[in-house]
């Protein structure tokens, strides 16, 4: 499996990271090196092995479905780059 520049551009787009066109060849090469390393996993016989989901066998705890916290809009927004009148502000998303 080899990654070309188009695939690298597509991955960058999916990850929402802007990559300039002239940086794509080097990026594609890095992906290929790392994926080449990962390819070793194909040597392992994984027939009948379930993908691991949890390191310790545990049942996730449950709790009552009730509000436990809240009512602190100012605190929640205190670190926002642009907050106005109790809202997070972003560029226009709907025409």
């Amino acid at each position: 499996m080899s990654i070309d520049q188009n695939t690298a551009a597509k991955v960058a787009k999916l990850a929402r990271i802007k990559v300039e066109d002239d940086a794509l060849p080097a990026l594609a090469q890095e992906f290929n090196n790392i994926l080449g390393f990962i390819e070793q996993l194909n040597e392992v016989d994984v027939e009948g092995v379930e993908p691991m989901t949890s390191v310790t066998p545990m049942r996730l705890k449950r709790r009552e479905d009730v509000v436990t916290d809240g009512g602190m809009a100012d605190t929640v927004m205190s670190n926002a780059p642009d907050a106005r009148e109790g809202f997070f502000a972003v560029p226009k998303v709907v025409e």
Binding site: V11, F31, F88
Partner: protein, 495 residues
């Protein structure tokens, strides 16, 4: 009394309780040491006012005879832990200016136990790195040098600031986190002790997430006893982390007897790698002989899937990172790129993340995105999770056969020069974690302790791996090894 900052947690605790010293004196000694150590670049956000306030409060508690386990002990806190009102940015530019409105459970547990925070410690960006060269604050310098050679060495990573600060006696101990070896590798490079507990022992709540199924916090200290004291204070069930274990935390320090007679120590043949330096090979053999002399039974074991741990890790960790780091979108906190006229929300995301994330973080987020993308999910991600199950089974098999702990080298080399790996393939850097990453994949406890010096005078570490939830037994075995190794070397002060 001079050099209070050079004390261990245990000695300082005993002296505080006996009224020989005060927490304010101890804290001031550490703050002075921090101020004089800018050259190491270990502390990146200093909190002297908070530290003195906490120290005064601790002195009141001590005077009243109400001194919990960490009362008055000054610590450094890795920048990955959210600390209320204090910058916490995972050494990333994307969290520039971020001051959490809440306290991580682990740092809160330490404060509840009376600990004092001196400031936040440098690290690799989002804990992604093995040399502390990916930080937005710049490289951390290891206090150790190759003899009189002034070439700056890495303290390892990602908890490089923690390792450097403890080794240089800037603080009595520090918090670290470990996703693939980020406590144990820097501990080995800096000649200190570091333990990653069983997955679920320490709450992950309020620790900036890298790979959630692998991340664990742990202490980085000067001795095994100090690790036992501090780990106990950090652990405990937390309803805010659904993977936090609801089981009692024992008194780890009380389990340090140094008696390992009859314990079975496994030596895994797969960890004997081609090209391993002879000094590491020798250190491992010496450590094995020490445990044997102490009455342990040494047994050759096999962990057949070891070779596949690193490639499995470099699928699973980036996959989880790509999901966890999706939250950095320039909306709720941290950096937002300056936009040009006509830029919409997609441009805002893309520019913000390109500016805010460094190259290694971008690389891992994109690799993670790729292995999770339609058409590759089964071939990469699910296959890696299957291999992970086999790696875990390797350990379960040897423990079921009666092995109590496993002894390995902590790292494949001593600390290397900063910049030496700059032109290397990223995969070369990943090999630093070859002995530690299996432990994260299997969720086991692992401890690195300093056991010797190489020919250039740099510390080398050994790793012990224990059974799930058996940190007490593991610490005791490490204590026996520490006693036998008698490592007392300290870096020559040059900073």
């Amino acid at each position: 009394m001079t050099d209070l900052n050079k004390m261990t947690l245990a000695d300082a605790r005993n002296n505080l309780r006996a009224g020989e010293i005060t927490s304010v004196e101890l804290t001031e000694a550490c703050l002075d040491a921090v101020d004089a150590a800018d050259a190491l670049n270990a502390f990146v956000h200093n909190t002297p006012e908070l530290a003195l306030e906490q120290a005064q409060a601790a002195d009141v508690r001590l005077a009243e005879g109400d001194a919990p386990s960490m009362c008055g002990l000054p610590l450094g806190i890795k920048d990955l832990f959210c600390t209320k009102g204090v910058p916490s940015q995972a050494a990333s530019a994307i969290l520039n200016g971020f001051k959490p409105e809440y306290e991580s459970t682990v740092s809160q547990n330490l404060f509840d136990a009376g600990a004092v925070m001196l400031g936040k410690l440098n690290m690799d960006e989002f804990a992604m790195g093995s040399s502390n060269e990916t930080s937005t604050y710049g490289d951390v310098i290891n206090p150790w040098r190759r003899g009189n050679d002034a070439i700056p060495l890495t303290p390892g990573g990602s908890s490089g600031g923690s390792a450097s600060a403890v080794a240089a006696d800037l603080c009595l101990a520090a918090t670290g986190t470990d996703t693939g070896g980020s406590i144990r590798q820097p501990a080995a490079f800096a000649g200190i002790t570091g333990i990653k507990p069983t997955y679920g022992r320490c709450s992950r709540w309020g620790i900036i997430a890298f790979a959630s199924s692998l991340d664990q916090a742990g202490p980085m200290t000067k001795t095994v006893r100090d690790s036992a004291i501090m780990l106990e204070a950090m652990c405990g069930h937390d309803a805010k982390d659904s993977t936090s274990a609801d089981i009692p935390v024992p008194n780890f320090e009380a389990m340090l007897t140094g008696d390992v007679r009859g314990k079975v120590i496994g030596i895994p043949k797969e960890y004997r790698m081609n090209g391993m330096p002879a000094e590491i090979e020798q250190l491992w053999a010496d450590g094995t002989a020490m445990l044997k002399d102490a009455g342990a039974e040494i047994r050759d074991i096999t962990l057949p899937h070891t070779k596949y741990a690193l490639p499995a890790y470099y699928v699973i960790a980036p996959a989880e990172a790509s999901s966890n780091l999706a939250r950095y979108d320039g909306v709720r906190y941290g950096h937002r790129a300056t936009l040009e006229a006509g830029d919409g929300i997609t441009e805002m995301y893309e520019k913000t993340r390109a500016e805010g994330f460094g190259p290694e973080v971008q690389r891992r987020v994109m690799i993670g995105t790729y292995v999770l993308s339609a058409g590759f999910y089964d071939a990469y991600y699910n296959r890696a999770r299957r291999v992970r199950a086999l790696i875990k089974k390797d350990f379960e098999d040897v423990f079921a056969a009666g092995v109590d702990a496993i002894l390995t080298p902590a790292t494949p080399s001593a600390a290397f020069g900063l910049g030496e790996m700059k032109d290397a393939d990223p995969v070369q850097m990943y090999l630093n974690d070859v002995f530690t990453v299996t432990v994260n994949l299997a969720g086991l406890p692992g401890i690195s302790i300093p056991a010797g010096l190489d020919a250039q005078g740099l510390p080398l570490g050994l790793q012990l791996i224990g059974k799930p939830w058996e940190e007490g037994d593991l610490l005791n075995t490490a204590y026996a090894l520490e006693n036998a190794a008698g490592f007392v070397a300290k870096p020559q002060k040059w900073w």
